[in-house]
């Protein structure tokens, strides 16, 4: 190998990381500004998530726990919107709660987005309720198996839950046909599987931030989760099944371009490293 080539490789090895940041920014921005429709296959986990909601009879009660905050909005918010849209489209009634302090405003944001859509006819307190946040993590999960009214005496807006028509039919986990958990960490899906699904034998599906997917996949394989949306890709698949394009499908091209760049950078970094090391050995 020529000495100039070695010098170039060494320069590349010491490349200022800000150039990498710039490349990643461009890789992500260009597909967002110039969108291209890329083909996509739907995974079995997403199909199962969709089917679990799809097969419920109209009027069934569904419990939805949104355990995330604005830091995970990118992945979990599109899931919240898509899931709520699906639940309302199927005429299911939803009780929403959160074990993360900043979760309820994210739920309100999603509900306001749906309310602004033409044809939205669902009524608060009758078709859906936002119970808000409750401190206590695992203790709350276990206590909801006894009485949800005791854990949430008032909703997110401060109204007594006994004044809400929908809550008259709710007692504990047994009142619900399905439990949906959208989470990205602690407390979230793992704890709900351990303290609610295993103990109270409820049918549970989950939407998870990609970073949590390897941990939660074991629950999918064991059947403790009956379906799962795996990160933004899983949500894009779900939006495709719903035939309701949302944020996740918009993000997918940028996501793919970003991943391709990271793969190229990892391969290039390793090739440069080994080439320089090989030359050094000689």
């Amino acid at each position: 190998m020529k000495p100039e080539t070695i010098q170039t490789l060494k320069k590349l090895e010491r490349l200022d990381k800000r150039w990498v940041f710039l490349l990643v920014a461009l890789a992500v921005l260009i597909p967002l500004i110039v969108p291209v429709k890329a083909p996509m296959t739907v995974s079995q986990a997403t199909k199962d998530y969709y089917e679990q909601i799809e097969k419920l009879p109209a009027g069934s009660l569904v419990l939805l726990s949104c355990d995330y905050d604005p830091g995970s909005k990118a992945e979990l918010y599109p899931m919240t919107v898509a899931t709520l849209r699906h639940l309302f489209r199927k005429d299911l009634r939803v009780v929403i709660l959160s074990l993360w302090p900043a979760g309820p405003p994210m739920v309100e944001l999603a509900l306001n987005e749906l309310k602004a859509e033409p044809g939205f006819k669902k009524r608060y307190g009758y078709h859906y309720v936002n119970l808000g946040f409750k401190e206590g993590r695992e203790a709350v999960m276990v206590d909801m198996g006894r009485s949800i009214h005791d854990v949430f005496p008032v909703d997110f807006h401060g109204a007594n839950v006994n004044t809400l028509s929908l809550m008259g039919e709710v007692q504990n986990y047994a009142s619900f046909r399905l439990f949906v958990n959208l989470s990205v960490g602690y407390p979230g899906t793992k704890e709900y599987v351990q303290y609610a699904q295993s103990r109270f034998r409820i049918t549970m599906i989950a939407g998870a931030g990609a970073v949590s997917v390897p941990e939660y996949s074991a629950y999918l394989q064991s059947g403790q989760l009956s379906g799962m949306l795996m990160g933004i890709a899983g949500c894009a698949e779900y939006e495709q099944l719903l035939e309701e394009p949302g944020l996740a499908l918009t993000f997918m091209n940028a996501q793919t371009a970003g991943h391709l760049l990271i793969i190229v950078l990892i391969i290039a970094g390793n090739v440069i490293y080994f080439m320089i090391r090989k030359k050094g050995d000689k």
């Binding site: 992500v28 921005l29 967002l32 909005k73 303290y195 933004i232 890709a233």
Partner: protein, 217 residues
């Protein structure tokens, strides 16, 4: 008003992203603002959504006098501010540690240990996967047949890697090495999913900047 808050959010996003170039006062301002706001928000929501409806209001209304016990335990926590009386706070802490340790043991045993062991006891080859392959021969259905053998073989190899009473030589060494390889595959998948999450966060912010703020899309 919405435009005003969009501008505030956009400027704060840019101030945070400016750290990628180098540390600077704009980043520090945004960072401190976030920490202060988050602390204030959590305090307010804990007070109005937890403390008042679950403890104070029913206690004052005389609905449940037993709530005086958690109220006193909560007050005892504040003795941590005094060097002389801080030992009192160990009582409520001991109560909480006891409760959560008990819950953790039950939750882990029921939800993880038993169910995961149960899920690992599977036939080496799934008859459903074989039927699936017979009905629709293809790469995916063929890989589906490998699912159970990979789980069983992988589990044994990884458990052997963590079995330190046996020297990792010969046959045991081979299986332990395969176990190490499988663990590396797991770590790789974990890293890949982490990249996916971080990339999504970046995309979300960029999308906000070009759609809500700059109205480019």
């Amino acid at each position: 008003m919405d435009t005003f808050w969009t501008w505030i959010a956009a400027l704060l996003t840019l101030m945070i992203l400016s750290f990628l170039y180098k540390d600077n006062p704009f980043f520090k301002v945004a960072e401190h603002l976030f920490v202060g706001l988050a602390a204030g928000y959590v305090l307010a929501i804990q007070f109005f959504n937890v403390f008042r409806p679950n403890l104070w209001d029913p206690l004052v209304a005389g609905e449940n006098f037993l709530l005086i016990i958690p109220f006193i335990l909560g007050l005892m926590m504040f003795t941590r501010f005094s060097d002389k009386h801080s030992w009192i706070s160990r009582w409520p802490l001991a109560y909480m540690i006891g409760i959560y340790s008990g819950l953790a043991v039950i939750g882990f045993t029921e939800g993880d240990l038993m169910r995961q062991v149960q899920a690992s006891i599977i036939p080496p080859v799934s008859t459903e996967a074989v039927k699936g392959f017979a009905a629709d021969p293809g790469v995916l259905t063929a890989l589906g047949m490998l699912s159970n053998p990979v789980i069983v073989f992988g589990l044994i190899c990884i458990l052997l890697y963590f079995f330190f009473s046996l020297e990792h030589k010969g046959t045991a060494g081979f299986f332990a090495k395969v176990g190490t390889g499988l663990l590396m595959v797991g770590f790789g998948a974990g890293y890949g999913y982490t990249v996916m999450t971080r990339m999504a966060l970046l995309i979300d912010r960029f999308y906000f900047l070009i759609s809500d703020w700059l109205k480019l899309v």
